[in-house]
């Protein structure tokens, strides 16, 4: 099998996920023995027209980006959404809590009407085109990314945990953030990151998105027990654009 041709594209995002790929350091050279990058604006000056795997970072915030994404989908065999902006919409979706006009005016004042400042509702990649695999996280965990690439290169379906972050948090011997009266989204959020945030003394803010069957009713009870409100919980759940099952608590 010849090496799959890989192209990386970015939309609205902080490019931190691509940075995680760079952070593989010398492993990038190993990566290059398995795939052949044909387009990666942040790291190289080449362009290409066809690819086996398209990796898409960022969320879709403008009509013209939607068209570009559809074009990428057409040219790609496999499409991977990289990072929370692509898989969920990411922090960008916070914008959607406001009217678009209000958002533009808030940032650009009188100039908001200038055509190049147009913006639209924020979409995750799979709200526009079909996504074959999701690499979760804000930012992604580069070890997980590397493992997924190796899986794809061996024809294996990557095994992404369906259980919540608490599993990995417990394995890392952390004191639960709830013991400090903090709202941690660990019990509702898909694992696979190895719980870096609770392990660093910070709550899980849900950047990998919800597990398949988040128990939002239980979450409501827990808020009451810890003297917090559902509004507190909701506000945190929305940070990374997690979808409706989170919003409807």
């Amino acid at each position: 099998m010849s090496k799959p041709r890989v192209a990386i594209f970015d939309f609205a995002c902080c490019e931190g996920c691509q940075l995680q790929i760079v952070n593989l350091e010398e492993e990038i050279l190993d990566l290059l023995t398995v795939v052949q990058p044909v387009e990666w604006r942040e790291a190289m000056s080449d362009h290409s027209e066809s690819y086996d795997i398209a990796i898409v970072e960022g969320s879709i915030t403008r009509p013209e980006d939607e068209a570009r994404l559809k074009q990428i989908r057409e040219r790609a065999g496999i499409l991977i959404a990289l990072g929370a902006c692509a898989t969920l919409g990411g922090v960008n979706k916070l914008k959607d809590n406001f009217e678009l006009e209000d958002v533009k005016r808030c940032v650009y004042g009188e100039a908001a009407a200038m055509p190049h400042l147009a913006t639209a509702r924020v979409k995750a990649v799979d709200e526009v085109v079909k996504v074959d695999f999701k690499v979760h996280g804000c930012p992604i965990n580069n070890k997980e990314f590397a493992a997924i690439v190796r899986c794809l290169a061996t024809g294996k379906t990557p095994v992404i945990p369906s259980y919540p972050v608490c599993v990995e948090c417990k394995k890392r011997e952390n004191v639960c953030r709830y013991e400090y009266q903090e709202i941690c989204l660990g019990p509702l959020t898909r694992a696979g990151c190895n719980a870096p945030c609770p392990s660093a003394g910070f709550w899980c803010f849900g950047c990998r998105g919800a597990v398949d069957e988040p128990n939002v009713n239980a979450a409501r009870d827990v808020m009451a027990r810890y003297g917090r409100t559902v509004e507190d919980l909701k506000s945190r759940m929305l940070l990374f654009g997690s979808r409706q099952e989170f919003a409807n608590v």
Binding site: T154, G155, K156, T157, V159
Partner: protein, 278 residues
């Protein structure tokens, strides 16, 4: 067949594929030989853990009779990582084998001297084939043999060549059905229980062996009970998620029972009260 205490129960034995043949759109037939040259030493109904380096392991039933020497056979449905990788194997390719594990059909005990009623749905035929062959190879040890086999569609039928041979065995009834026929299908249509009225079952002399999708058991057993077959004359084979195959990982438990150790073959009387079994 327990490995020595200081041996590693998780260490696969190298084995080589000697035959790989597609059977249906999603199932393929495999014949393997252990590189050590020894026989697998299984009994009908037992399973092995097939290991594909990098992909993982999957429990797979042995489909050949222990009387086949030098190699053993399996049928695998392409559903996931290990099975997909197996489907890519060619004769001469290697895989790892652990086992055989689990309980087996009582071909040497409870079944001996009895009429045997085999009821298999789809891929459930795979482990049972091992017992069917065993019975035919020791034909005089058993009474009447009834084989009922059902699949979703004619395209899902397995071991069609074997079936032709089973049909002509002495004192044997072979009946087949499909849930949905196609224009060329001339045979019986309907779920597997609709075949039962066509066989006579003497409850005093019969042992039933059942294997199929989870949903099948409840209905088949209901019918057999109507025919007054005792629960301790019914043997079923169960499938569960399994990681270790040796009673440690916990995945295959039905209530307190480890399917990999107390099963996969259970006497129905032993599990009729086990709520998670069926």
């Amino acid at each position: 067949m327990k490995p020595a205490v200081n041996g590693d129960i998780y260490l696969p034995m190298p084995a080589t594929a000697v035959q790989v043949a597609p059977m249906t759109a999603s199932e393929s037939f495999f014949e393997f030989r252990l590189d050590s040259g020894s026989d697998l030493g299984h009994m009908p109904g037992q399973f092995v853990e097939v290991s594909i380096a990098g992909q993982g392991e999957a429990p797979i039933s042995i489909s050949s009779s222990p009387t086949l020497k030098g190699s053993f056979q399996m049928v695998v449905r392409n559903v996931g990582n290990v099975s997909r990788a197996m489907h890519a194997l060619k004769p001469g390719d290697k895989a790892g084998i652990r086992g055989p594990f689990g309980t087996h059909f009582p071909v040497e005990t409870a079944m001996k001297g009895r009429d045997i009623l085999f009821i298999c749905g789809g891929i459930g035929l795979v482990p049972v084939r091992s017992a069917i062959h065993y019975v035919f190879e020791h034909r005089r040890d058993y009474g009447k043999v009834n084989i009922l086999f059902g699949t979703k569609t004619p395209a899902d039928r397995l071991f069609t060549e074997d079936m032709e041979r089973w049909k002509v065995q002495p004192d044997t009834t072979f009946l087949e059905t499909v849930d949905r026929g196609d224009p060329r299908w001339k045979g019986h249509t309907g779920v597997i229980t609709t075949l039962l009225p066509d066989v006579t079952v003497d409850p005093a002399k019969t042992v039933a062996v059942i294997c199929g999708p989870p949903i099948m058991y409840k209905f088949v057993i209901m019918e057999l009970r109507k025919r007054e077959l005792d629960d301790d004359r019914i043997y079923i084979s169960l499938e569960r998620h399994m990681k270790c195959g040796v009673g440690k990982c916990g995945h295959c438990q039905v209530n307190g029972l480890y399917v990999c150790q107390k099963g996969p073959v259970f006497r129905y009387a032993d599990v009729s009260a086990v709520r998670e079994a069926i």
